[in-house]
Symmetry: C2
């Protein structure tokens, strides 16, 4: 999506260790007009596919998912992250390893909000190693629901998360795929 | 706001210890059509007041704030919660005590996203003791910006958070004020 790529080139900051900072418009301060364009693009990409719920994960996916949900007319569920969980049987849970934070955490969704009748579009802001996304897919499958696909704002194409998800046959659409960031120069895969 | 009150009566669950669970439509699963009505109501209530940014706090405030921002045409910033913070001078921070979780945490906003020229509308899903809201107000003041007001989805009128904030002269608008929940019966303040 050209508008997102242009914004990444203008305002994204490349940091050591393969970090791309986009917190001026995507995940600390959020440009809602841009999110609306992204929501429309997700709607265009998944036109004709059944979507009954959008699933995302706290915290940075929530804004994009909520704005996108306007174009699908469906509720949003956000998975919660927790380190100390009381398993009372009411939650679908999966363990996820964080690439940037080097920790393991559990993610959880209340069972009653996903049913076998649901067709779920998973939305998140970033895709790198794909651990969080794989966790969300696992949760949808635990519920017996269908994964319609995954919509990502920014995919780091030079890490293997996207490849790993696509190889499972799940449809994955990223609005911008960063191919490389060598010497601070951001290049996109087209 | 009548539509929100009706939804609380229909789907809210009163739990021991003064807890009101509304996670089927407000803060786990999110009803975006309801959020749009809430956003329109915030716009109506703060019509004529200057708003250049909306500030909220992760995670449950983000969805409401993003949808509301559509009606104000401004960006949203969400304050991040953290227990172990590296103070590198780039962040405005304040310590907050959580009523429900019985822990202390720091909340932080990058300095560069709030300036003395900003007029900030603070939006959150819940107001009980008001500690998080007081923290957000503190952050805006640290930045030298103006607090235009606070917009809350559900205020627990029987706790003292709303009183405390209003006594400071800050405008606070809650879309539903729960007056009591005795014996599981929810009554609203009108």
């Amino acid at each position: 999506m050209q508008q997102l790529e242009e914004r990444i080139l203008r305002d994204g900051i490349v940091k050591d260790g393969g970090i791309l900072k986009v917190d001026s418009f995507l995940n600390h301060q959020m440009d809602i007009a841009l999110f609306e364009r992204m929501g429309q693009e997700f709607r265009r990409l998944f036109a004709g596919s059944p979507v009954t719920k959008i699933l995302t994960i706290e915290a940075s996916g929530i804004g994009i998912a909520c704005i996108a949900a306007r174009y699908f007319g469906v509720p949003v569920i956000y998975a919660k992250k927790t380190k100390s969980m009381i398993l009372d049987g009411e939650f679908l849970t999966v363990k996820v390893e964080s690439f940037t934070k080097k920790i393991c955490y559990d993610i959880m969704v209340a069972k009653r909000y996903l049913s076998p009748q649901d067709h779920v579009l998973i939305i998140d802001d970033f895709l790198a190693k794909g651990n969080a996304l794989a966790g969300l897919i696992n949760i949808v499958k635990q519920a017996g629901a269908q994964v319609t696909g995954c919509g990502i704002a920014i995919e780091k194409g030079f890490q293997n998360g996207g490849k790993r998800i696509r190889e499972t046959g799940i449809r994955l659409e990223s609005l911008a795929i960063v191919e490389s960031m060598e010497n601070g120069v951001i290049r996109f895969q087209r």
